[in-house]
Symmetry: C2
Subunit: 463 residues, 2 copies
């Protein structure tokens, strides 16, 4: 065998075109018409008879408060734990604070299997129940597994399709990077976000799975609460390429801005015993703040049929009120640019990541002084009131960890009041192509920014 036979091109030249072709196929795919997908979710819900009810924190089976620290931990020592976190940052209205946080050092896999049917890439999606979803079942990745999950700590059945991801030959991997979860609620959690092609393999499906095109996923992303967070973050990592003729900043210039932002912030974050966290109290409802702000830690008990185990209990984080995540965009030289924010979140591995222009819990800011409110919040709220958003849908965050965590996702075109070219400190204009390049390397875009990028990648919104 000649060594020349070893060489591959460094990038699969036809992949962006194949993804664009899949994004162009809407209305129907190999399995289902898009309009029938929510019916299929309802049907699967009926088939499985799921019930979720709240339980007090001290009555969650297999979970207990560890002596000494007061951390909320699973009997196996695996899965995740709720611990305390102490943060000190150099900017923003808070300065320093303590809070409960989810600690889960293991890296999970969020994987979507792709396969071409009749020349069009389809993605194998799962109707999956998560106890924190307001509507329980949502469209989920082919595989969504913590390492405890797939190493079968809870002695459940094996994770279907997992072998496509753990044993993927490199040339079938379309995307594979470590991406953060919510930095406000997780301590340095990352998942592998993977898209793998099943090229010549037959892939048997189950009643809980179906093949959808990227365009169908885009249609579903225009609906509230249908496409789950894990799907959105993986779709935000698809290897699309910008065909833009240029950008306000060169890639090197954009990276330099981001590097300077990471370098200039002092962020000191430490885990601490949950029992010692100041400003939070534990009562029958869970762990929360007397002023009712931010979130509380609560418990649920689940009865289910098609999960790896047939029933379980667990803690969940329940936000106090809905959130918002909005990209302000404008055209520069005819090319759409998004105003990205270099946002510090206490749980990020590396101080800050790129976030939407506005990202906040709405209720937390209602009483805040005008000067403390996030930049552009008023402008985005005004656009929403006047029906001027280019895209608006409510999605719920990871239902395996968060209870009814609803966030309105928006794209809002800069109006005359905001039509700035010179971005304020901590913000920069970036093209969609530039974000697609960065996201491949992980820990650049936060989960909210990746959700909005998924809307662009799938054609749910066009700027």
């Amino acid at each position: 065998m000649s060594t020349a036979a070893f060489l591959r091109p460094r990038a699969a030249q036809d992949l962006p075109a194949r993804l664009a072709r899949s994004a162009a196929v809407t209305g129907t795919g190999r399995h289902l018409r898009t309009e029938d997908v929510t019916g299929w979710l309802d049907e699967r819900a009926r088939a499985h008879r799921f019930t979720v009810r709240r339980v007090p924190l001290d009555r969650i089976e297999q979970w207990s408060f560890a002596p000494g620290t007061g951390d909320l931990v699973h009997r196996s020592g695996r899965f995740f734990a709720v611990r305390g976190l102490a943060a000190r940052v150099d900017e923003g209205p808070y300065g320093s604070w303590q809070q409960p946080v989810i600690h889960q050092p293991e890296v999970g896999i969020l994987g979507i299997l792709a396969k071409e049917f009749d020349g069009v890439l389809h993605f194998l999606m799962q109707a999956k129940m998560e106890p924190g979803n307001p509507n329980l079942l949502q469209i989920s990745p082919t595989v969504q597994a913590t390492r405890s999950n797939y190493q079968r700590v809870h002695s459940g059945s094996e994770v279907k399709y997992l072998e496509h991801f753990t044993g993927a030959p490199p040339h079938l991997v379309l995307a594979d990077s470590l991406q953060s979860e919510h930095g406000a609620w997780f301590y340095r959690k990352a998942n592998r976000n993977m898209v793998v092609e099943a090229a010549d393999t037959e892939v048997p499906t189950t009643p809980d799975h179906c093949w959808l095109t990227l365009g169908q996923l885009g249609e579903l992303l225009r609906l509230d609460h249908v496409v789950n967070m894990d799907t959105r973050t993986v779709l935000g990592c698809l290897p699309l390429q910008g065909s833009e003729p240029g950008a306000l900043h060169s890639d090197a210039g954009l990276l330099s801005w981001f590097t300077a932002e990471r370098a200039r912030h002092d962020v000191d974050v430490r885990l601490m015993p949950l029992a010692d966290v100041k400003g939070w109290t534990r009562n029958a409802d869970g762990i929360g703040r007397p002023d009712g702000r931010f979130f509380r830690v609560t418990g649920v008990s689940v009865e289910a049929g098609n999960r790896e185990v047939t029933g379980w209990s667990q803690p969940l984080i329940e936000p106090c009120g809905a959130g918002m995540a909005a990209f302000v965009f404008r055209r520069l030289g005819g090319v759409p640019h998004l105003l990205v924010h270099a946002r510090v979140e206490a749980g990020f591995l590396n101080r800050l990541e790129l976030a939407p222009t506005v990202q906040c819990g709405l209720r937390d800011w209602e009483e805040a002084q005008a000067a403390d409110r996030p930049l552009f919040l008023e402008a985005v709220l005004r656009a929403v009131r006047e029906g001027g958003a280019r895209y608006s849908a409510v999605h719920s965050e990871e239902g395996g960890r968060f209870l009814n965590a609803c966030v309105r996702y928006l794209f809002v075109e800069a109006d005359e009041d905001m039509a700035l070219v010179e971005a304020p400190r901590g913000y920069a204009w970036a093209t969609v192509g530039q974000l697609n390049t960065l996201v491949a390397h992980g820990h650049y875009l936060n989960v909210q920014a990746r959700t909005l990028l998924a809307c662009l990648n799938s054609g749910a919104v066009r700027l």
Copy 2:
């Protein structure tokens, strides 16, 4: 102004060619012949009359052991501290251990100013003394400053040329990324590695600075102890592009391998009080191990004329014996590939980074059982004995933190015994172009790998 005027190309198309042109200019540059550079270093040493002498740890001016923790700290609370570190890893001969570690959460700047003279890019290099360098003065970046340094915590004079880096307009930035320092000795330390062009600005030089071409720096990199670590790491980040026709793995495949490596390792690292570190003892010589292995913490006192302050004392880490860092390479399909190692170091921000094929302290492995020795160590040592290394030079590591830390850097072509295509677990073949692409994003290549990449970028070695 039309908005079209805002657009720039995402990448400066001519930059790789300009860097290649600079790398091709050897022998002499605008200021000095290459052969006169070491004479210039000697002359600057004589002009400044530097003296460095050892002092006991408890006699370092302005430094003391903090009550309670026993951490070695500066009176200002700035600069760096020597603390304890507890590590638990899932692979390798050690498993879990404790050690002293340098803690310095601030991000410093390592910056090289570039400017074209007669159509050739030159780099403004500094003859700089660092107390841990075996020969005191080495070729250093234009600017090498901790944040404490440039915010003038020690009330010294200002850092020359700093304004080119802190106020660089994005279009003049050629490279700017956060890069790790030695993960065995630093806890999550990162520096901004910057190359900035001074396009239309006159740049006055001082007797301690001179303009050198990339090719001249390559010539100097063939000598021992002339080009300091900070210069090497910045040169390892130059935005060169591979012109290779292909690679063993696509870029996506290589990233997937790396992501899987990061995901599979359990690494638990915590700071702890220095006083409680097990296996290390403090005596008149410093803090070390009774078995004399690894390193010790020691102190020096410096008298100098051209530093930001005229004299100071500080702790240094002194390795017990020399180290080695070697890339094994081979041609696949005519294209040189380097065998990179996904290496866990306790101080890395994100578990592991890409390292040379072999990287170790030589003395630590002399007594080790064969099975515990690093893969390829014997093969590389054999190549060195037989004079078969393509590149071999001894460089010293960061002289501001390490005392006489000498590492032999090597490129060794795979001989018949090692001519494997299937890399062992934890290793992968990557082209030089692929490493150049990755390094731009930071925290991918460790400092030893960046040193060896600098040798390639500057033409010190050709594979």
